[in-house]
Each structure stands twice: as structure tokens, then as C-alpha cells.
């Protein structure tokens, strides 16, 4: 939108408005479809507004499976992963940035090299491993393989390394132990990095479909995205109003989060780009 020519400028704005509409309208379509009845779904030409709105679709979608359970499981795994990741990454980041000991750099390279091992490379062997020890269909199967994050360790180490040693020396003189130094002094200073990483981790694991799909066959530990995807395999015919109502369970929380923390979330995803 940099041109000074008003005609060019309004053309650019019009173009951007069309793109924005193409990006956003489908979400409106989820909402609209979720409030129609079967007749409205297959009506031709389709109507833009669901009149009268059929709110009962939401109840029907919610009751098509153990959705309270799915939601609970999503919260447990997403935040379970986050808390363990942050705790372990902060400990390791402190050792990697503020202590010197033989083997430190080798260990750090090992951690960084794990960035190259995405879940899509690990799922087969981990499935076999967890099957052997009887941990499939448990929270452990969903949380433990993500208990450490190479990315989190890497980013928090960078943030910790930027903290001046004087601050730490002052804390040590005041008698703070390692845990206090890490969590009372360094974590607050490294807050921007920690927030950015946390948002990345929460968005990723809240939405994750792949890992729970592979590691669970049991409703008791299944998560929300998986539950919603299963809606499509139930029932027959054009149940799109029910499926889209279920889809709203996944979409709405992310939209609300984005509305509240847009700036932080975009930052979380651009954090490692070259500047």
C-alpha cells in the first residue's frame, strides 16, 4: 500500500480486501453451515444466513462422542507438555549458557541436532517402544515424547546467555540457590522468549492431530481435534451441519486466542526468521 497515486492505492486495497475475504469467508461458512438444518445444507443455491438458526446442532455434535473428555484431554496434554518443556528447558538452558563443564558443547550439539528429528520421523519407532512397555493409550504416550523441546532449549539458552553475569553474581551473593536464580531471576528477564515459545508450543499441541492419531485408539485419552475428525466417520449422508458445529469447537478457541494475543502469536511464529 505504498503508492501515492490514489487510483493505484485503492486498487491495492481492493485486491487486499479480496484476498482477506477469501481467507476469512470460509470460517464464516463454517459458522453458517453449523446453524443450518439438513435441508439448508443441501439447498441450492445455498443461503448465506442460517434462518432460523439451529442451535441444537451444537448439542448434537457435542453428544456424538465424549467431547467433555476430549476437551479435558486436550487441556491436559497441551499444558502438561508446556509445563514440562519449560521446566526442563530452563534447567538445561541455564547449564548450557551459564556453567562451563567438560562435554557441555557436545551435549548442546546433541540437543540442537534433535531439531532435525520431527514427529513424522519418530512415530513408528516410538509407537513400537511404547507398545512394548504398555504405554499406548496413556497420557504418557501423548506427553513424554514432547517432554523436551530442542527449539525451546535452544531459544531459552540464547535468551539466558544475553543476561549479564553481574545479575547472577549479585543474586549468588544474596544467597540464592540455582533453582531460585533460574526461576526467580533469569526466567522473568527472559520472559519475551518464554512467552513466544509457550505460544508456539500451545498452538502446535492444541491443534495436533498426528500424534494422538497414532498413539491412541481409546476414547478415554483422545483429544479434541481427533474427536472432531471422527465426526465425519459417524452417521451417513450430508451431515455437514453437525460436522461444522464440531469444527467450531476447534476453531473458536484459536480465534479467541488470536484475538487476545495477535501480536504475541505472530511474534511466536516469526521468532527464528533471519532479520
Amino acid at each position: 500500500m505504498g503508492s501515492r497515486n490514489p487510483l493505484v492505492r485503492s486498487l491495492m486495497v481492493a485486491f487486499l480486501a479480496i484476498i482477506a475475504l477469501v481467507e476469512v469467508f470460509p470460517y464464516f461458512w463454517i459458522a453458517t453451515t453449523s446453524l443450518k438444518d439438513l435441508r439448508g445444507v443441501i439447498q441450492f443455491p445455498p443461503s448465506l444466513l442460517p434462518l432460523p438458526p439451529h442451535w441444537e446442532n451444537y448439542a448434537q455434535a457435542w453428544q456424538s462422542g465424549p467431547f467433555p473428555r476430549y476437551l479435558m484431554n486436550n487441556i491436559i496434554t497441551t499444558f502438561g507438555i508446556l509445563i514440562i518443556q519449560l521446566f526442563l528447558a530452563c534447567l538445561a538452558a541455564y547449564a548450557f549458557s551459564k556453567l562451563s563443564f567438560p562435554g557441555r558443547d557436545v551435549c548442546f550439539y546433541v540437543v540442537v541436532s534433535c531439531l532435525m528429528v520431527p514427529p513424522q520421523v519418530r512415530f513408528v519407532p516410538i509407537y513400537i517402544m511404547l507398545a512394548k512397555v504398555g504405554l499406548l493409550n496413556t497420557y504418557a504416550a501423548l506427553i513424554l515424547p514432547y517432554a523436551t523441546s530442542a527449539l525451546g532449549t535452544f531459544l531459552i539458552r540464547e535468551a539466558f546467555a544475553n543476561i549479564s553475569d553481574d545479575v547472577l553474581d549479585a543474586a549468588r551473593i544474596d544467597g540464592a540457590d540455582v533453582i531460585q536464580i533460574i526461576f526467580r531471576i533469569m526466567v522473568p528477564i527472559a520472559k519475551p522468549t518464554i512467552i513466544a515459545f509457550s505460544l508456539f508450543s500451545v498452538v502446535y499441541h492444541w491443534n495436533d492431530y498426528f500424534w494422538p492419531l497414532v498413539m491412541t485408539t481409546n476414547e478415554a485419552v483422545r483429544t479434541l481435534p481427533l474427536g472432531v475428525a471422527l465426526l465425519r466417520e459417524e452417521g451417513t449422508g450430508a451431515r455437514w451441519h453437525i460436522i461444522m458445529a464440531g469444527n467450531m469447537f476447534v476453531v473458536v478457541p484459536m480465534f479467541l486466542a488470536f484475538l487476545v494475543a495477535q501480536r504475541h502469536i505472530i511474534r511466536a511464529f516469526t521468532f527464528t526468521s533471519p532479520k
Partner: protein
């Protein structure tokens, strides 16, 4: 005297070492169990034939030879290549154009950015279900639009030639916000001075782009190219939900193939060989990235 110093320092150093390992040990334990061991185990398993029930049978490099000779595997590689290249190029081109148009700190610009970026953080499940519905041959909105524009209706996901490109389109629709914000970050790091100097010398908009913006964006462009390549190479969700690899194998891409081999056909050896090849490709791409940036951090997720 030097002896005395080292004697005095010795216990201090040792304490720091113990503390250091105590702090990294929990992380290292997880990394070894869930990252390094799985890679080594895949390598080991790729030399066996195993269905998770009967005893493993050592077959040497047979799994690899069968894979490379298999027509289906070649089709999968070809699909993955087309999917990756299509998504990476289209998303980067669109992302760059949007970034150039939106490179302003106005309320309208942030509003458009938010609209476009949102899809990137929405679950693949939601996006896939939404687009099955949008692309439904009978009742879908897309075919309604094509009919409205007097174009023939299409079976977007059922047509052998079209299905993969439909998935490319949906993926680009979902992720284009990512290259857009990365390019925006790159653009904002370019000093205004260059443009002012160029404008004084009479350079037009195209020349400014060609000789200032594009060369200075090179690190960003390379970063995006490599991270998006790795990410699209790991695509799975969209295929599993939207097409199950079909019609026939038309949309079967790499990770979906591994998943099918392991969990539909219980060919763990074949799946492991494919995992090893996948890992080698990522290793290669990361090595290139590392060469370029001397800092191999990437965490984009696609598909």
C-alpha cells in the same frame, strides 16, 4: 605454586560439572529416549521384515531395494515433490506480494495481516474438514461459484488429475500468512535510507524492488524456502483427513505412505526404511540451511 592453584580450583570446577550435568540430565534422557534412540532403532529395523507379531527376520537391504523398485513408492515421491514444490513456490510468491503490499504500519494493514495469518494457527483438522465441505462436488460452495461463473463443476478431490492440486491449493490458502509475516519482518529490517538514496537517483518502484528489496531479502527467501520445503515434506494431516491418499494413490505423499505401511499393512521394516530415507532428506536440507545461515533453527509445520 601452579599446583597449589589447580589444587584449590579443582573442587570448584567439579561442583560446576556435577551441577551442569544434573541440570541437563533430564533433558538428555528425553532426547535420547524419544529422538536419538528412535532414529537408530528405525535404521536397525529397516534391515528386517517384521509385522509386530511374528519374530523379526533379517533381510539385509531388501526393504530399500524393494522401495526403490516399487512403482507406488516412486509415485509417492513424485506426488511429494509436486506437492512440496507447488506449495513452497506458490506460498512464497503470494506471501511476498502480500508482504510488499502490506508493508505499512497502519490499522488497515494490521487488519488485513490478521485476516490472512489466522488460518496458519487453525488446526489442520478444522481446515481439512472445512475444505472437504467447500469442495463437495454436489453441495459445495466452490462448485456453486464455478457454476455461477459458467465454468464446469469439478470433482476436486475425486478427480485423479486434480486431487493433488486441490490439496496444494488448500495448503497454500492455510499457510500463506506464514511467508507473509516472515517477509514482512524481513522488509522491516531494510533501512529506509537505501530507498531514499535510490529515489534521489531516480529509481522507480520496480528498480527499487529489483536492486534493493530482492537482494536484501535473500536470507529471508532462503530461510523460507528451506523451512517450507522441510515442512511440506512432513505433510500428513491434510491427506489423511481429506483424501486418504486417494483416488488410488494420487494424493499419497511421503509421511502418509509411511503411516500406511506401518499401521495398515504392518510392514514395519518397509516403513522404517522409508523413515530412514525421509530423515536423510531432512538432514540434507538442514545441512544446506546450516551452510547458508550457520544456525539451523526451523519450526514451521505444514500439513
Amino acid at each position: 605454586m601452579p599446583n597449589a592453584i589447580s589444587y584449590r580450583r579443582y573442587p570448584v570446577v567439579r561442583r560446576e560439572t556435577i551441577l551442569g550435568y544434573a541440570l541437563i540430565l533430564p533433558s538428555l534422557a528425553v532426547f535420547f529416549t524419544f529422538f536419538i534412540y528412535p532414529v537408530l532403532y528405525s535404521l536397525y529395523l529397516s534391515f528386517f521384515r517384521w509385522d509386530m507379531m511374528m519374530p523379526k527376520q533379517f533381510v539385509g537391504a531388501l526393504n530399500y531395494r524393494e522401495l526403490t523398485a516399487s512403482a507406488e513408492f516412486r509415485e509417492v515421491i513424485w506426488n511429494t515433490l509436486r506437492y512440496s514444490v507447488g506449495v513452497v513456490l506458490a506460498a512464497m510468491a503470494a506471501g511476498l506480494i502480500l508482504a510488499l503490499l502490506l508493508n505499512r504500519r497502519t490499522a488497515l494493514s494490521s487488519f488485513f495481516q490478521a485476516c490472512i495469518f489466522t488460518s496458519y494457527i487453525v488446526s489442520w483438522v478444522a481446515v481439512s474438514l472445512l475444505w472437504i465441505w467447500m469442495l463437495d462436488p454436489q453441495y459445495g460452495l466452490v462448485n456453486y461459484l464455478t457454476r455461477f461463473l459458467k465454468m464446469p463443476a469439478q470433482d476436486w478431490l475425486g478427480n485423479h488429475r486434480l486431487a493433488l492440486w486441490s490439496l496444494v491449493g488448500v495448503t497454500v490458502w492455510k499457510i500463506v500468512g506464514y511467508p507473509m509475516v516472515i517477509f514482512l519482518a524481513g522488509l522491516q529490517s531494510i533501512s529506509r535510507d537505501y530507498y531514499e538514496a535510490a529515489a534521489l537517483d531516480g529509481a522507480g518502484a520496480w528498480q527499487q524492488f529489483r536492486f534493493i528489496t530482492w537482494p536484501l531479502l535473500t536470507p529471508t527467501t532462503l530461510f523460507l524456502f528451506i523451512t517450507l520445503s522441510i515442512a511440506t515434506f512432513q505433510g500428513f494431516d491434510i491427506v489423511n483427513i481429506m483424501t486418504q491418499g486417494g483416488p488410488v494413490h494420487a494424493t499419497s505423499i511421503y509421511v502418509f505412505f509411511i503411516y500406511e505401511q506401518a499401521f495398515h499393512y504392518f510392514r514395519l521394516g518397509t516403513a522404517s526404511a522409508a523413515v530412514v530415507i525421509c530423515f536423510m532428506m531432512i538432514l540434507l536440507l538442514t545441512f544446506v540451511e546450516h551452510r547458508v545461515f550457520r544456525r539451523g533453527v526451523h519450526y514451521t509445520e505444514v500439513g
